[in-house]
Symmetry: C2
Subunit: 246 residues, 2 copies
């Protein structure tokens, strides 16, 4: 059996997240149904991780095993012609049998996008959270800096997290800002459930002046979800890139 | 009566163009209905020009006369809270009684966006025409240069044009290109029906090598629609900006 690694982009607006659910209408369900139509196989695709309902992906990665005779270079076009227009396969490669999209991932990057202009940019309205008052980007950057490195991120994950350890490493984080639009990029070894959205919700309070940048350090040390800010809206979040060892 | 000038952006995907039609579902119909709900007035808004079904606008301009007591700075937010999310008012200003969005316009700019990557960028799929093979941008730029200046653009307008003169002036035109994405910006005194889309359709043939750049000059001189290329798809077109004397 061949093991295929796929990079997929999607507009998550109308889906109940990546991972399969009883009601269907997830990215995984749609892709598995499409593979079935194409090759006749009942495959289970393995995502690099979940994305929540309404969250987008520029570069989600999944892999699956197949006996189909379709040449590797034909898979992307064959899937794209059968997928709805809000799911686009970017590339398909054959990888070693052991490759696993989740276990083999070395680094993930998320982007959270914010529009602080009085009225939203109509062309980005589904992808950029509208916060119609200004934010102090400098204070948000100071607050964000406390999160870089290896920390216990218990304050920044949903109480529903079932992970035994909340220790993760944030390798890099930055906020790009121009024309009232902010893009927070955060890269790490892995992310807890809702982690980027709780970080963003907390930094929004810093940007609004409701929290001091230095309090982000206190929140981190508290290791308590109730110390942090609210969970930012799903639609501003995008799984930007998943990286593997070459 | 006050005369208000409004800059509006819209995603034209689900509308039958800007101008009112018997069946409704045009940008003009939706905005007029919204003004009626807000002020109770039956107004007729005057657009800077039409946009076709499926064409977008970053900066369409219209004006209308009102007796409503609503302060000018309240109009934009009051309209936006009542409009669907794919129509966003950017600003409202009070102008002199003689101002007319169409007659007073000095310069218009359109953008036509193309994605030449093998698979489309899912987040721009409604705004960027997907042409899944490479184009020679240099040849397209050479062809485009022949159109700058005052010319009879009969070859580059729909046969359904009812204008007595097809002479227009293109002030500036350029193609920005990066990562396989092309943005054609074209500014002029005014544009004929389908003019930017026929220019784009012709330049696509040049980019594909099916026409020589120099043949754009011959097409212009022919003053005959059948000499030019096809009309490019509506969804790549965006009315970018309308300018007036200060």
């Amino acid at each position: 059996m061949r093991n295929l690694r796929v990079v997929v982009s999607y507009d998550g607006t109308r889906y109940y997240g990546f991972q399969t659910q009883p009601g269907g209408n997830t990215i995984q369900d749609i892709i598995q149904d499409t593979i079935k139509k194409l090759s006749g196989e009942d495959v289970r695709i393995i995502g690099s991780g979940r994305t929540d309902a309404g969250v987008h992906a520029r570069g989600q990665v999944f892999n699956f095993h197949t006996d189909a005779a379709i040449p590797v270079e034909r898979w992307a076009i064959a899937l794209n012609t059968r997928l709805p227009s809000d799911i686009v396969i970017r590339c398909v490669d054959e990888v070693e049998p052991e490759f696993h999209s989740s276990y083999s991932a070395k680094r993930k990057t998320y982007r959270y996008s914010i529009d602080t202009n009085k009225f939203p940019d109509v062309f980005e309205r589904r992808y950029r959270f509208h916060h119609p008052t200004p934010l102090s980007v400098e204070e948000m950057r100071k607050g964000l800096a406390f999160l870089v490195g290896e920390h216990d991120f218990s304050s920044f994950t949903s109480r529903r997290s079932t992970k035994t350890s909340h220790v993760r490493t944030v390798y890099e984080a930055r906020i790009d800002a121009s024309d009232g639009k902010l893009d927070l990029f955060i890269s790490g070894s892995g992310f807890l459930y809702n982690m980027v959205r709780v970080i963003t919700g907390t930094l929004l309070l810093v940007g609004e002046g409701k929290l001091q940048a230095g309090q982000v350090q206190d929140i981190l040390e508290a290791q308590d979800r109730s110390a942090a800010g609210p969970t930012a809206m799903a639609y501003g979040l995008n799984l930007w890139e998943v990286e593997y060892l070459a």
